[in-house]
Symmetry: D2
Subunit: 166 residues, 4 copies
């Protein structure tokens, strides 16, 4: 199963990225094949057709399971993550990709954001999204059992939707 | 595959019900096992523990694929449908049920409602929701090809998430 | 200023009703003119044109400031409240009414629901909604200062939008 | 009344910008004091503390009425606009600013996006948002009467919330 992590935190090497990587590993049983820290794509994100951005889009589109992760900024995902998602084709850009929306926040108030706000963008790109979004507290995700609990309940369903390798 | 249709239109025998039945048939290849016209449950919906309502909830919870359908009232699903959904247990009431959110409207303006508004309620009840919500025009759903197109693209994914019969 | 409270909790005399009444009093400086406990309208809510429901709709529509309150059921407002809101005319039913969305929950996870889910229904009915939705914990709203804080910050703006009495 | 237009279209001098300027003029009776084409801020948007971005934020925060405009990308506002909004302080960045969410789309399907998706971000920044979001077709906004109709119905309410000049 080709697994990719996409993290849209303006700070490189963030806890967002670390949590998404943990989740991908729990879901697939292995380290993710690709880890994309969106901020490293730089100013090419503000254009159309930048080569590095284009390659990153292709990597995501060819994956089977992708965790899309964002910190919570202004009660929703970051502009940075959306800038990257805007580079995908509507309805087709994530076709046949099983996607997991993940958001981290400092407090519990924005726990609805992954399902109400981030997931619909992934759906618009054509992704398969069988499981609920996951919202984690950035201060406790390494000590609580939420990632493992989520993987236990939703891992089988997510894996059932992954396209069969020929 | 045990398939059920739930229609939350205050008018019995509505186009909502008809469209949901068509969709269930396209997705499963057979007539739905159960068709629940929520309005027929009557005033028992306003209580907790009404026997008929309880039986309807059980029928839905034991299904494998359920189309939840509503006309668009005030830019979202009806109070009637929500009244029925309020009878399910949070996080568990639709566990292991693959759910499809379907809404019908007179015009195209509310096409985001199935994914932004109806699907999150089903997710909160624990449903598996791999496919996008479907929004149909109540005047054209019998003449356009939207139901068939949807079933072709999303049927395989929906069926892949249905629990295996032992 | 004619002020009304609408509470959509299936339990009569609920904390939802009490909190909404407190909020209305803080915002207007007086007890609300009308307090509508939606559940008391009974099975007439399931029809169109019930006399008692019709009178309740008229009372709300003729108010200047209305607090619409709901407990959180399945991560959003109740079917009961929506059933009542479905009785108003789209775009016109709350014309010239300044509306405040209020929701109560057992925990903080659904704090986005008033703005993302309840307010849009009020907007669709034509209401004026200048202030953010308010989300309260049902266990602490009498001991914390959230209602007073909200009234201090948003009271002036809400009152500025209330139609001038001739 | 100090009026500002903020347009988050990656294409400079877009129809988004033109429509927002028309709307601001209809609402205030004069040309907007400031017109901010977010894309011109360039790569400074990807950092914190860029001088030009900081000045743009201040201009918006000191305005009394601001039209926030975006084309519809992936069924919601652009990453570019959100990148700019991420630069404001939560709860305070738009304090005392009356804000109007405006979105343009190629078709009618995303008409719920201004109220369900863009307005909540402005609310989170502390803005006053008394009126519904406006959704325009990018092909007809100059020939239909939607901007004028909106200004007629909602202009008085919007102006009533604008802070009094001392």
């Amino acid at each position: 199963m080709r697994t990719t992590v996409v993290a849209g935190n303006p700070k490189p090497g963030s806890r967002t990225l670390a949590a998404a990587t943990l989740l991908a590993r729990e879901l697939s049983g292995a380290a993710p094949d690709h880890v994309l820290d969106v901020v490293t794509l730089g100013a090419g994100l503000l254009e159309w057709g930048d080569e590095t951005v284009r390659a990153a889009v292709a990597t995501v589109a060819e994956s089977e399971l992708v965790v899309f992760a964002s910190p919570t900024f202004k009660a929703t995902y970051t502009g940075l993550l959306k800038l990257f998602l805007d580079q995908f084709a509507t309805g087709e850009g994530l076709r046949d990709v099983t996607a997991v929306p993940l958001m981290l926040g400092a407090g519990p108030a924005h726990a609805l954001a992954p399902d109400l706000l981030l997931k619909p963008v992934l759906v618009e790109l054509g992704a398969i999204t069988p499981a609920p979004g996951l919202y984690l507290l950035d201060s406790t995700y390494t000590s609580d059992t939420r990632i493992a609990d989520y993987a236990r309940r939703w891992g089988p369903v997510l894996r059932a939707t992954v396209r069969q390798e020929a």
